[in-house]
């Protein structure tokens, strides 16, 4: 009996030892580009977490940009601003939103909820859209509530005289008259979107095709890696194509775990998405990515990642689907949580940024050291991402790399070509412009 017990204790301590030496993440630079470094996956006893402390911005504090750029707060005191959209009139729409909230299913969900709350992810969203009118370049003369009482809105796009807003459960269509400061007509539902139960990844990113006939909607998975069962993943982790006139929808591409932003590359008119990949198999797994999205393409989730790397947590496995899984175009490093994707489409801010995409990295909560918390620029050539990313807006993390001032989310250009960055922890919209206009 005693011997058995000793052996058990030895086994136990080796288990605990495994938990204690949960590895630190390596240099994220290795995971940008077409062939990111992919270490072996691990199964942890203690889910790896490194939760930053939110300290917000003190008066006068702001993100950091290079010397040829300047940054200023365009709007403060918002309620969890997520998506930004500039109307043809120059009016700026700020979607203030957060998830509808979920019931904990497991003991772990309680803990994870508390952890994410500490990172500032649980603040109540405004469920509304605020309009800013800024004709003076950084000094808005008007700020009003454009529309209120939405249901966790995220995607927004104007086609002709119709403004489409993607709530977490449906696309609503509103008649829009240029110059109005408030939507008065009630919205008409164009199409339902997968939402509850659970609604784990709740954001519904949205864009429109160049001719305006189709809308494209990113729908995230209902779990990290199918821990809520396969039934609730029906129709999720996919990018939908919705016919703008009839509301008929179909899955355009699948296996995209959480496509948090969709956008068309302006030269090639090719659809791209940034996708947040799975957690809890290592600080350097799995890299989030930027990828062109092929019609009918399958991008791996849940069965595999980065092409055919099988995820053993999914049961039963599907080797047939793994064989079809498309390798994404461009790694964005692990747990950086890219949320905003904005093609520059010309000479905005600087000639360096003429061709490529700005991507906001919301920042990690389950990786040590922290990763993300910046806006980067990924250069493009011939409609494809190439080369190394350039950090454009940083300083969302404190000097100690453990405290957080803010987290960047939605991106847009204002009418003057300045880059706007929504910050859902600092509850601010930042405006980044060139110090020498016209250079």
């Amino acid at each position: 009996m005693r011997m058995t017990d000793l052996r058990l204790i030895a086994a136990l301590s080796s288990f605990i030892g495994l938990a204690a030496c949960s590895s630190k993440g390596g240099d994220p630079a290795r995971q940008y580009g077409p062939d990111p470094y992919l270490p072996e996956p691990h199964q942890y006893l203690l889910p790896p977490m490194s939760v930053p402390k939110v300290i917000g911005w003190k008066v006068g504090e702001m993100p950091t940009v290079s010397a040829d750029l300047k940054v200023e707060a365009l709007a403060t005191g918002l309620e969890h601003p997520r998506t930004l959209y500039t109307l043809p009139t120059g009016d700026i729409l700020i979607v203030e939103s957060n998830g509808p909230g979920t019931e904990p299913y497991r003991p772990k969900d309680f803990i994870a909820g508390k952890v994410k709350a500490r990172a500032g992810a649980s603040e109540k969203g405004g469920n509304r859209i605020t309009l800013l009118r800024d004709s003076g370049g950084g000094k808005p003369e008007l700020r009003t509530v454009f529309i209120d009482h939405l249901n966790s809105p995220y995607g927004i796009v104007l086609v002709g005289d119709t403004l489409y807003i993607a709530n977490t459960d449906a696309i609503l269509a509103f008649n829009y008259v240029p110059g109005v400061t408030r939507l008065t007509s009630p919205g008409v539902k164009l199409a339902d979107l997968p939402a509850g139960p659970i609604d784990h990844h709740w954001t519904k990113s949205m864009t429109a095709s160049a001719d305006g006939s189709k809308l494209y909607v990113g729908v995230g998975s209902n779990s990290n890696i199918t821990e809520n069962g396969m039934a609730v993943e029906e129709g999720r982790a996919a990018i939908y194509e919705v016919d703008r006139l009839t509301g008929a929808k179909r899955i355009f591409a699948s296996g995209t775990r959480n496509p948090t932003s969709v956008a068309f590359e302006p030269q090639t008119k090719q659809l791209f998405a940034v996708v947040n990949e799975r957690d809890e198999i290592g600080p350097d797994l799995v890299p989030d990515y930027l990828s062109s999205i092929r019609e009918g393409g399958f991008y791996g989730w849940p069965y595999s990642y980065w092409g055919s790397h099988v995820d053993v947590r999914v049961h039963p496995q599907r080797p047939d689907l793994v064989a079809q899984a498309i390798k994404p175009d461009y790694g964005l490093s692990s747990h950086a949580a890219p949320l905003g994707l904005l093609f520059s489409g010309g000479q905005h801010l600087s000639p360096v940024f003429a061709n490529g995409a700005f991507i906001s990295e919301h920042g990690s909560w389950d990786r040590s050291p922290l990763n993300g918390y910046q806006v980067i620029f990924v250069p493009f050539m011939n409609g494809r991402p190439v080369g190394k990313p350039i950090a454009v807006v940083t300083g969302f993390l404190g000097q100690d790399n453990e405290t957080v001032h803010g987290r960047p989310v939605g991106l847009a250009f204002d009418r003057s070509g300045a880059l706007l960055v929504a910050d859902d922890v600092g509850n601010t919209v930042w405006r980044v412009s060139a110090t020498q206009p016209g250079t």
Binding site: L8, P47, Y105, P107, I225
Partner: protein, 155 residues
């Protein structure tokens, strides 16, 4: 035994040496309750293993969590049993069985925080199977981690 009026201060003093009544152990029922919850987790793990229906894995996670909470209460009661002199001789082998099963279940609680299949297969169900074997033996021995002081035994 002669009937006595209960008297908080005088009970020990007045009880004739060699005739004191054995008092019930507080921890025993809680060890049993916690043990049953931890054993049940093996059952739900097994069903998850055969069906891959996610809710069974969630049941396991809850059963282990509550099993550990009840075991924690049992430890406190065991301490009270010791302090209040209810305990006669510790039951070493049962103590080792239950302690090992509880520590394994604590590790298993962490294994069960993983997502989907690997929260149970293979380590989770292995740990709950081993815990179950240990707990069934402890249960067969009556769940007590210590014998109550026999009637008449000196404090």
């Amino acid at each position: 035994m002669p009937t006595q009026q209960p008297s908080p201060q005088g009970d020990q003093m007045r009880r004739p040496i060699g005739h004191s009544r054995a008092r019930a152990l507080l921890h025993r029922g809680f060890i049993g309750a916690g043990g049953v919850l931890l054993i049940a987790a093996f059952g739900t793990d097994y069903i998850y293993y055969t069906t891959a229906l996610w809710q069974w894995a969630n049941f396991s996670a809850w059963l282990i969590t509550f099993g550990l909470i009840v075991m924690f209460v049992a430890v406190l009661l065991l301490l009270i049993d010791f302090v209040t002199g209810r305990v006669g001789r510790p039951n070493i082998s049962s103590f080792i069985l239950v302690t090992a099963a509880t520590l394994l279940s604590l590790v298993n609680a962490f294994v069960h925080t993983r997502d989907a299949w690997t929260s149970v297969v293979p380590q989770g169900i292995f740990l709950s199977a081993v815990s179950t074997i240990l707990l069934v033996i402890a249960g067969a021995r009556g769940w007590s981690l210590a014998n109550s002081r026999a009637a008449g035994e000196r404090p």
